[in-house]
Symmetry: D2
């Protein structure tokens, strides 16, 4: 009746405990997260889980979380599993036990925090879109490049690259299963703004969010289009629209994801605001305000290879909750995907005899699929949050191996340039607008795949 | 043991026979069809069947079919059930037993035949797109207007309005089930040109077909967008592309739908050519020629109500055979449809409580659905060709009632103007291009629905 | 400007006209149909259309239709396209211009009519189920065997074998694509009896219909199971249930498919009754009566190869209109099908690498698919009624070639024996009940496929 | 620049740390888990996560995990996050810091461990099936009843009740949305035994697993049928089959889920064996052995209300990875579900007008759906493992409130009796076999729902 107590043996790492799944003898990095609302909760789940599922070269310790409101951030630290709480992001960066700074704030603070963190020698993971302007993104990419020379890693949180089905899609494209690409079409459809009574949260204010559906949803599908094809968008022609131009201001007491408890806003993230906090969203006294971002953006595009693309991002597609849908058509095959069924990838192999060809539904839960060997048996699907576990895993691998992670800040900048071209085209009567700046080096195909 | 022979009683209508399903005492119109390939075969099935299924105010007699090659058109008449054959469309129009001229030729002959038929006092059904140019379409619409004053009817063959699911969709939009429209998205995806060895049939020559995927497929989705929304497209921003710019010329002996027997071309229709015939497609001696039409067109659009739209028409979407897919999102609900599953309509009712809301798959086979009462019990679906039976039915009702049929030539002209704006925008670097001309009166909502 | 009138040349076949699509010089068989309601209408559409679509060795002429009520049958003849009407099926059989007798009556008259027709030297097509009892079916099979020796053909109307997707499924099984069969599961779900106010039509009376969901729906799925696997069911274990045991009697004036105009009964077929007519369904004075058939039957089964099967037939599956769904699982692959999406077949190829395997949706509209070359381009789907066109085509081919058609009366008998075993098992507390009688020779795989 | 360190404040609970999400002042229960393979890993993820997502009345501390092999269990403790490791389950039960014993071993050890734990005053969570025999299950239920009198809780791990879509389904049934139930059909299809070279793991040995597909998969669908309908199965008629009767013995070194590294066995769980360990699975020297359990079971059933049911459980359905599919048809509506798309529930409301009725796909990700308020915004789906988080949550609520949890051991016994009746029927030639024993009280509808 032998008892084997591990507390003792592992006591040297108190706080993180002996129970984070890391193999003995491996080093743990301290993570410091800024912002703790929707994205912060998702990232926390990723950091908490990664070591228990994947065999990692480096561990992660949830060292500290940062938010403006002391009581709120302490409660968040308790709830989300962070060992400490900070109310100033500069203090967070300054902590010795923070090796990685994870930025989950609205876009207007990304550049300042990320550059400061990189300059302070920290690795950085930054939520998407990388920034609110191309200029900010350029400065961030430059900072990342300087930091890379010092062995630091900077990654942008386009987490959907870590959906196993999309990592598989990238692998299949890279293997040539689609042949010459002809068509790319992506939509990202949500419906949480349909009600005109939905309040004017920070996501509807250009000064905070940069743009509306374009930056929030469009950024994802632009990144995925570039990730999956291995090409950078060459130019775009765009229309945007704000269907509901005035909305009630949030209550002064509004403090969370749910915008006055309706639960409908998938991203109001006032707690994520490191400088102003939730109160910035409540302007008591005022009754309504102007929506200063787009509700929807539709655009066509060309890829260097000649492929034609269509993109649509909206928060007004009634009944579509998270419909990131995409299809690629090539001369040898096609792929299709819908985020609302994220464990599935549809593949049509055009080299099959016509009589037995058709789109097959690959249930992406096999051990041979990206990331899946570490999880459950075939057919036991994953969910949205697992993308953050995979993101944490890939970042830790990148840091351990000294490999530049994908998507890099350069990739984030590339997306930002496309978004800027979309806005420019929309202002110029939809005229075709080339994407400015140097074509980024395509992300290495297998950064997120082969490791898995 | 009474025997009731009907031949005797019905002997007076020899040729059409007593067996076309028309109720006793009702008049039969003679139909004369020009062209007899893919569209001709489909129209023939419509004319042959309509009287056996629907209770009609007027009957239809398949009087004569016309094509340039005498032997071929006689064989077609036999095969398709036409009482006579003609080799000159002017002779067809001149026949006393022809009351309705049904034009199934390539677009370059539509205007001449249709205007001549209308001026000769005949009713006209003309395949889509109405014409190859706006000018032709304007002349046709003017001729139709003159003829309408004389009680003649002119209709354009946008047969998909007669898919029961789409007629139901129109009814639901008209009933206000979608609320304020926000988004319209339509694709029409096929893949029969993916193989660069596919020959240069008439559909790939601008002089014959007017345009490529745009006029063939894009015309359908533009018409449907206008039909379903009840609005005319206000303006467009477009990109077009010809992926394979040179193709082998067809064999001199190539004579049909299948382009050298591959069965893959869903529309090569040389027999439909009233002036030149199949031989025009075969230029012996030459090896290859220039493709002078678009392979694909993508465009965004605005509707007067403020809704944003995306359109995509292509013959290069590998694995998509006839994927006319559409979705409408309004403030109160959404509708979705896929022609590859034409007995189904998806509807999301946004007025439902969120906990039980979702896109429902309406199996459009109930007696209360448009056109369905005349057909089979619930769940026993229809196919593609039934749209032509319904088209014949609606045309006969329009003639009998003296009601202007929908889609009218004015509707066809409206589509033509959108296609012209698409081409103009594509030439002008995708700049947003308003659709010229007067806004057509919206098609009466129920022309094709309430009658059914 | 040559005009080619065909009436003259073809004048010798007045009535049927020159326009039935048959190639010159080929013989036409006269068809005489008994019953003209739902099945009669569907068969008529098959006979009217077959010659215009397929290149046939023999033509078909709609010679005469038979029903008890003279006025009603004459109206039906007009509507459905039959040249003559009869009120006595013996007179129909006696007609010189009737070569094929097509029996579309309720099951209680099948044996008498079919045997008489065969003995009179006619070919016979008989609706399913072949009979109401095994004894009747045995007598019919014996008559068919005698007639076969004289060159006559007898076929049972299991029309779903002629759904192209199911003919393709059979071909794939025969090619070994599934390997060793392990599981067979079929359901046939409808919902038109859910309302207890639905009247007691002939389909709910054992004396007329033989059984309820079992014979109507179960017969189809038993036949398909045997057709697709190439094996005869070895034994069954069954439960049956009548959920609503008493129903209102139909109105005396009730005369059709729709049971008092509701349109909901997909099979009330009083006009199909050659001896009693519609009036048999209306017992004025009475208010309600006993339902004497099953509403639903569920059974498990074994196949000789060791495969396990489940079957379910019901008219109480709310929301399922015509859900004939099946799946076969073998060691090398699986097939799945749903009649509500009849242009699709799902196929999983288990020999594919696991990482790219999955059920593929084959859109069964390619020229290489059974029956499809004669129809429309890829993606332009067929409907329910086309199974009757195909059935007519295959019967004409069988007659022309002297080949025994499938499904033969022996196949129909085999199904009848399974149904009888189901009823016996249900009466004996579900005990496993072997199917009696000699194992029929498997239907030749390609009877309905290779010809196509 | 205030820093708020929480380590200090929370120092008293070192080991579990301050970071398990529990609100200050709430008590933490220690959990001791027996077995640590597939189920153990899933349960661990549930225990680790629950406090960070849900607001709990009681916390959970991963106190100790138990397995026979000391090195292996220590490694598992590290990987899965358990504070201590034990090699004897009796020692685990005896630990003062263990309040809840979580049993994740094969079925042959459930009764002994569970009864000992209950008798020792611990709460118990036991994996399904509850036991290998009815006798064991009865003893366990009796022990649970005795323990309940002392305020202890015993729950069986039918985790699929905690799929939000299925909890929603139960709520809708209880609300009467289906009306009178007519049909219940469930399948649980997997394919990991198709390959005859797959080794003879413990799951294929009757002495360890009790039965094969029946107990592993069939138990789930029997429980769900009873849970969803609120009725106990009245009787069954069953066929079972072992398709591959002899298999190679596992390698002596085989030690895990993946059976020689193929990753295909979703449940080989040798580490879960508290008495024998992994070595029991490897009989070196022998080459192959007899499979002593069923590969598949099909059965029909009756419910007390008169509904008919079909069940199918198999590990030989090629291409089906985890296809737990179910449909309920009632007089007022129907529900359908597929575990491979676990975020969706299909609902047909038969009270809708027929013209707009149809199965709607409810994306079960709304805040008003069971368990969902605590998770992500609408459309951001969950995965398989979340059922274990919900299970942990519901168990902690039950303990905190002193409410009997569902599914109770009595529910587990009820399932066991159905499984026994299935086996008895299969042995008795499929004769209908009533389920013995008292009808259990239906699980309170909302035990797992209203709390959520």
């Amino acid at each position: 009746m032998s008892e084997t107590e591990h507390e003792a043996a592992a006591g040297g790492t108190a706080g993180a405990g002996p129970t984070d799944g890391l193999r003995a003898g491996r080093r743990r990095l301290g993570v410091g997260m800024v912002g703790y609302a929707f994205m912060g909760a998702a990232h926390s789940q990723g950091w908490r889980t990664v070591g228990h599922v994947f065999d990692l070269p480096l561990g992660a310790r949830l060292a500290a979380v940062c938010g403006r409101d002391g009581a709120a951030v302490r409660a968040a630290a308790d709830r989300l599993g962070w060992a400490a709480a900070e109310t100033d992001w500069r203090a967070l960066i300054a902590r010795d036990d923070v090796d990685v700074v994870d930025i989950c704030t609205p876009g207007d603070s990304h550049a300042e925090i990320a550059i400061a963190a990189l300059d302070a020698g920290k690795h950085v993971l930054c939520e998407k879109p990388l920034a609110n302007t191309v200029e900010e993104a350029e400065a961030m990419a430059a900072a990342a490049e300087r930091a890379a020379a010092r062995g630091q890693v900077a990654m942008v949180g386009f987490n959907y690259r870590r959906v196993p089905a999309l990592a598989l899609a990238r692998r299949m494209v890279a293997e040539g299963r689609l042949g010459t690409l002809r068509h790319v079409r992506l939509t990202y459809l949500q419906d949480w703004l349909v009600d005109p009574a939905f309040p004017l949260t920070w996501r509807l204010r250009k000064d905070r969010a940069g743009s509306g559906a374009l930056g929030d949803l469009g950024a994802h599908i632009v990144d995925l289009a570039q990730f999956l094809t291995g090409e950078a968008v060459a130019g775009v022609s765009a229309l945007t629209e704000t269907f509901v131009r005035e909305r009630p201001l949030p209550e002064a007491s509004s403090t969370g994801i749910t915008a006055a408890g309706t639960g409908a806003d998938p991203g109001a993230d006032p707690g994520a605001d490191p400088g102003a906090g939730a109160r910035a969203d409540g302007r008591s006294g005022a009754r309504s305000g102007q929506v200063t971002v787009d509700d929807a953006a539709v655009f066509t595009a060309r890829f260097p290879s000649g492929a034609l693309a269509t993109f649509e991002a909206t928060r007004f597609a009634t009944g579509r909750k998270n419909a990131l849908r995409l299809e690629l058509n090539g001369s040898a095959g096609s792929l299709a995907f819908d985020l609302e069924r994220l464990n599935e990838l549809s593949f049509h192999d055009h080299t099959e005899p016509a009589a037995s060809a058709g789109f097959r539904r690959i249930l992406v839960t096999e051990p041979g699929h990206p990331y899946l060997e570490a999880w459950w048996p075939p057919g036991h699907g994953l969910g949205y949050e697992h993308t953050f576990v995979h993101q944490a895993r890939d970042l830790l691998h990148a840091i351990a191996s000294g490999t530049a992670p994908a998507p890099s800040f350069a990739d984030g900048l590339s997306v930002q340039r496309v978004l800027a071209a979309v806005e420019e085209s929309a202002e110029k009567n939809a005229v075709y607008t080339p994407v400015s700046g140097p074509t980024p080096t395509p992300a290495p195909v297998d950064a997120s795949v082969n490791l898995a």
